[in-house]
Symmetry: C2
Subunit: 189 residues, 2 copies
C-alpha cells in the first residue's frame, strides 16, 4: 500500500491569524469598525493624483508601510493626456484585487493549493449618460463581468464554490452591486 | 474708466473637444458604447497585480498610451504583507479621480479658473461583515464622505454648484451609490 503524501497547502495566507482576528473581533465588535481613506490633488485637466496612507481600525489610527500613489486621467480620445487609468478602470482593479484575495484566503482555509488565479474584467458603459445626451442612461456601468481562470488542485465544482464564497464575502463586490450612501461636500479654500 | 481684463480660463480641459464629442455621439449613439477592462494575476497571499491597457469605444478597440499597473494587498494587521493599497481604498481613489476630473471639466465650461482641488475621502466599514461574524452587517462601506477643498476664482456658492454638477455626471459616484449587476464566472485552467 502506497503511503499517503502529506500535502502542505501554502497560498501565502495566514488563515490562523484571520480566524484569530475573527474570534477577537467577535469579542470586541468596536475594534471591527474601520475607516478607509484616500486623499487626492488635482494635477491639470482630467489628471488627478491620489494617495493612500492612513486608515483607522482595531480602535486606533493605522498606517500602511508606505504611501501608495495613483494617477487617474482620461484617455486621448477624450482630448485628455492619458496620464493614468480612467477612474472607472481603477474601480475594476479594486474588484479584481478584492475577489482574488478572497479566493486565496478561502482556498487556504479549504486546503486547496492554488497555482495561478487570473481575472479578466469587462464593464459596459454608455457614454450618453455622463455626457448628458440621454437622461435615461445611467452614468456608471451597465454591468460588470468577471471571469476567473484558476489553476489549482481542485475540481471545476470546487473552484466554482471557492469563487462563489469569495464573492459572498467581498467588500468591493458589495460596494459595486449594492447601493452605498455617498456624501460630497465642497469648501472654498 | 478701467478697461476690463480679458481673463483666459485654462484648467487644461479641452471643452470644445468634449462638446464636439457630445454632438458626434448624439448623432451616432452606437459609438458611445464603451467597454472598460482590467486583468489581474494573483501574486501570493492577498497580493494581486492588475493591469489596465485596452478598452473599446467609438466603435473600435482602443489602447492606452501605456499599460497601467496596480498592486493591491491587505495590511500587516491582517497578517498580510501590505504590498499595495487595499482594494476598497482603490475604489476611493477611483471616486476621487472621477469627481475631480468632472470638477475641472465643469469649471472650464463655466469659465472658472481653478488653482487647486483637494479631496479627502473616508469610508466606514464594519469588518464583522467580511469576516462573517454578523450576517446583518454588509461587506462593503457603510457610507462614504468626500470633502473637496477648492481654491478658485469663484464664490462658495459657485464652488458648491460646480462640485454638485460633477457629482451629477460622475460614473464612479453612480457605480458606488447605485446598484450594478456583477456576474462572476469561474473556470478551471
Amino acid at each position: 500500500m502506497q503511503q499517503a503524501e502529506q500535502v502542505v497547502v501554502d497560498n501565502g495566507v495566514n488563515v490562523e491569524a484571520i480566524l484569530g482576528a475573527r474570534d477577537a473581533l467577535t469579542e470586541t465588535p468596536a475594534a471591527a469598525q474601520f475607516k478607509w481613506r484616500a486623499t487626492s490633488e488635482w494635477v491639470d485637466g482630467t489628471h488627478t493624483r491620489a494617495s493612500v496612507e492612513n486608515f483607522y481600525g482595531l480602535g486606533e489610527e493605522q498606517k500602511h508601510r508606505q504611501v501608495f500613489g495613483f494617477d487617474t486621467d482620461h484617455p486621448e480620445l477624450f482630448a485628455s493626456e492619458d496620464n493614468g487609468a480612467t477612474p472607472v478602470e481603477v474601480v475594476l482593479v479594486g474588484l479584481a484585487g478584492c475577489l482574488t484575495a478572497g479566493i486565496a484566503t478561502v482556498a487556504q482555509n479549504r486546503g486547496i493549493q492554488l497555482r495561478s488565479v487570473r481575472a479578466t474584467l469587462e464593464a459596459g458603459m454608455d457614454l450618453q449618460g455622463i455626457l448628458g445626451i440621454d437622461g435615461d442612461v445611467r452614468n456608471g456601468f451597465d454591468g460588470v463581468r468577471v471571469v476567473f481562470d484558476v489553476d489549482a488542485d481542485a475540481s471545476q465544482a470546487d473552484i466554482e464554490a471557492l469563487v462563489a464564497q469569495s464573492q459572498k464575502r467581498s467588500a468591493v463586490f458589495d460596494i459595486i452591486s449594492s447601493p452605498t450612501d455617498v456624501q460630497v461636500e465642497a469648501r472654498k479654500s
